[in-house]
Symmetry: C2
Subunit: 421 residues, 2 copies
């Protein structure tokens, strides 16, 4: 018999409890022994629940209960989660979490503390909700050198982009639809500005390459700039626009890591990942492309990953999992402006023909994009792959004939070989 505890009884926490009682037989069989839910930490009371008697408002009830060996932290945020998790690890309790903010900010430190105290710190639920991704990346793909990871990591923005592509909505309408359905918060900044996706690509990059990547090191652009015309130009290119978290290791040992809208050709398996679904495409030198797909958020999918981690902790009470990464370094992440990519460019141009002439002179071959009712004083094109700084200089040099309205990379074009041009 092992005692377990849940910190936070919000969406995920209540899901963890619900799933525990719903599938208790198979969970205990999988864990190898009976489990007892001894505490649920929340400031609120839930008098009508079957397990209302285990609620507490005192963190110390969990910290000081010697019968509790595994704790799920599903409060979210850094305060007080960071302090609580540290103290739990230091007294030798295993901790699992769905808290991507915590792992992205403090992962290396908490993994180090866990190692020091001979316990496990697991966080499968922090990326991709119920999609198995961290454990497969660390274990099943362990014989591979990971060359690149590309992820649709935020369900809210993917839902919005799907509405914009499939139903012709503009950004504002797509956002209000997502808010009405409960997919987006009143303040949607964490989603639409890319911060949520940024935390997740930090965790993936840290795990894949063994060194902590901090959110502040990652160039992050969201989807606020995506207009209806971008959608139509993209469709004309046989592509969609997705918010992509991307990481890849450079030969010089410095890491590429960005979050940005990208043009994704329809032939990519990422292109058909729609609505609130997430997908993570992992490129290995041996496996080639492997993709993991599913619901990246939601009560029970996320709870499913938390409970699986708790089961794994119970099975490994005295044998540590090898999940680990080192502390980060200031210059570990390469300047995103040095990265090579083909770019999608939409720009204002008074004189269409003169502008295209100048563009072709600056970039060489470009692929012009058009659709039947495109705005008269706008043009769009795809450049060949080149370092971003170089591309920006070229655009700058064209400022007399065109004014860029939206610029983002073409997915899969970073090697310069798969350009749409």
């Amino acid at each position: 018999m092992q005692g377990i505890a849940i910190m936070g009884h919000g969406v995920v926490g209540s899901g963890v409890a619900e799933l525990f009682f719903q599938n208790r037989d198979r969970i205990e069989r999988g864990a190898g022994e009976p489990l007892e839910l001894r505490h649920v930490l929340d400031l609120r009371a839930f008098p009508n629940l079957a397990y209302s008697d285990v609620f507490t408002t005192q963190f110390e009830d969990i910290l000081n209960d010697p019968a509790v060996s595994v704790v799920a932290e599903v409060m979210g945020g850094l305060k007080p989660a960071y302090d609580y998790v540290k103290r739990l690890l230091c007294v030798g309790k295993h901790v699992v979490t769905s808290n991507k903010e915590l792992v992205a900010a403090k992962g290396a430190e908490l993994l180090g503390l866990a190692r020091e105290h001979g316990v496990n710190f697991l966080f499968e639920a922090s990326v991709g909700g119920g999609i198995p991704i961290l454990r497969p990346l660390a274990q099943c793909l362990a014989a591979n050198t990971i060359t690149e990871i590309l992820g649709i990591l935020n369900g809210t923005t993917n839902f919005m982009l799907t509405k914009m592509f499939r139903e012709g909505m503009g950004f504002d309408e797509a956002l209000s639809t997502a808010q009405r359905l409960g997919y987006a918060e009143r303040d949607p900044s964490a989603d639409v500005d890319g911060h949520d996706a940024c935390r997740k690509i930090c965790i993936l990059a840290s795990l894949a390459y063994g060194r902590h990547v901090y959110p502040a090191q990652v160039h992050t652009a969201g989807i606020r700039t995506i207009a209806k015309t971008d959608v139509l130009y993209a469709a004309a290119a046989g592509a969609v626009i997705k918010l992509i978290g991307r990481t890849a290791m450079q030969p010089n040992g410095r890491l590429q890591c960005t979050v940005s809208p990208m043009l994704v050709t329809n032939s990519s398996p990422l292109a058909t990942v729609d609505d609130v679904f997430n997908a993570i495409l992992v490129r290995g030198d041996a496996t080639g492309d492997v993709m993991f797909y599913g619901r990246g958020a939601g009560k029970l999918p996320t709870a499913s990953a938390v409970v699986a981690d708790m089961m794994d902790c119970v099975k490994h009470l005295h044998a540590r999992k090898t999940l680990f990464w080192e502390e980060g370094e200031a210059d570990y992440v390469a300047d995103w402006r040095q990265q090579t990519a083909a770019l999608y460019v939409r720009a204002k141009a008074a004189d269409h023909e003169a502008a295209f002439g100048a563009v072709e002179q600056a970039f060489g071959c470009v692929r012009p994009l058009d659709y039947p009712e495109a705005p008269a004083h706008e043009l769009a094109f795809i450049t060949p792959a080149a370092p971003r700084t170089e591309q920006e200089e070229k655009l700058q040099s064209l400022s007399t004939v065109l004014e860029p309205l939206n610029v983002f990379p073409v997915c899969g074009s970073t090697g310069g070989t798969e350009s749409l041009c």
Copy 2:
């Protein structure tokens, strides 16, 4: 330092050796200690390889070498692999294999032997090649009750169906193209008749539901019956045809397990899985749909899964993994004719109108399918969901007005709620 050995130096075996030497640093770091490739078993000699000195034709060299703790069986087939693996497990050596025929036929017995002798028997590579699926199913989704698994499990047939759908090839042309490219063997029966997919769905079903399913218990239909007209009727229905291995647990504790062509609507994530790619869609009560996608075969992808299993064995030399299932039972798998599904039916009919009238009388609402140049004396339709026996009786009763040419289920229609009708 742990000694390892490879049995079989064919496509997969040579890939295992290649990958081991190519990524040796990260493999040994992941395994936690240095590894030495001590033997490669093959009847042939490979004098020009850098590791030609470790070749042997004698199985006993591996069996009797106390320094060898982990052996990769990548010979394929039952003879002599079954005997060799048994003997290795019995002397306490860990075994990993890519041999789906072996696992589908003898999995429960070999898992039992491994447990008895305190060693691991792992086989991630036997399903989906380099796609992580067995470990995520057993570990990451462990808190779920798995309601259904649907898999595109054979790359050869998926390549052929893709050619038929995207390039208008007929079956014969698609087969000869696959043969020319080395995707299909001279005798393509194992692929096109569904036997390879059958072995894989047996392994998935055994793992997901805890009891061995033998290939002989699984109703298996291949893709030889798929004609160009089926492709065009499917397209008219907004669908594609995929060879699907499917398993689901009935409330009465008996298992549904089949391999069959299925009509898959374009909105399904399985519909866009093309060419030689495989995908396995797992439905859990908590996660909802989770899909795993990648190359289901090939030298390095398969070797990647074999090497990852070997690393896992080295990490768990004295701690057994919990991967396990019980022996099967004669009546464990339910009669496929009792399963409920909507059916796609293509039939010969001299009098179109009379035939459709009779069809509607027998089935109630059906969805007629048509395309501009459909054969005059043919019709196609989708029935409502009902038990297969009932559907067959109805078709029988219509034998005076129509002669069925091809009949297979609509994917996702088994619950009767998602019928295309």
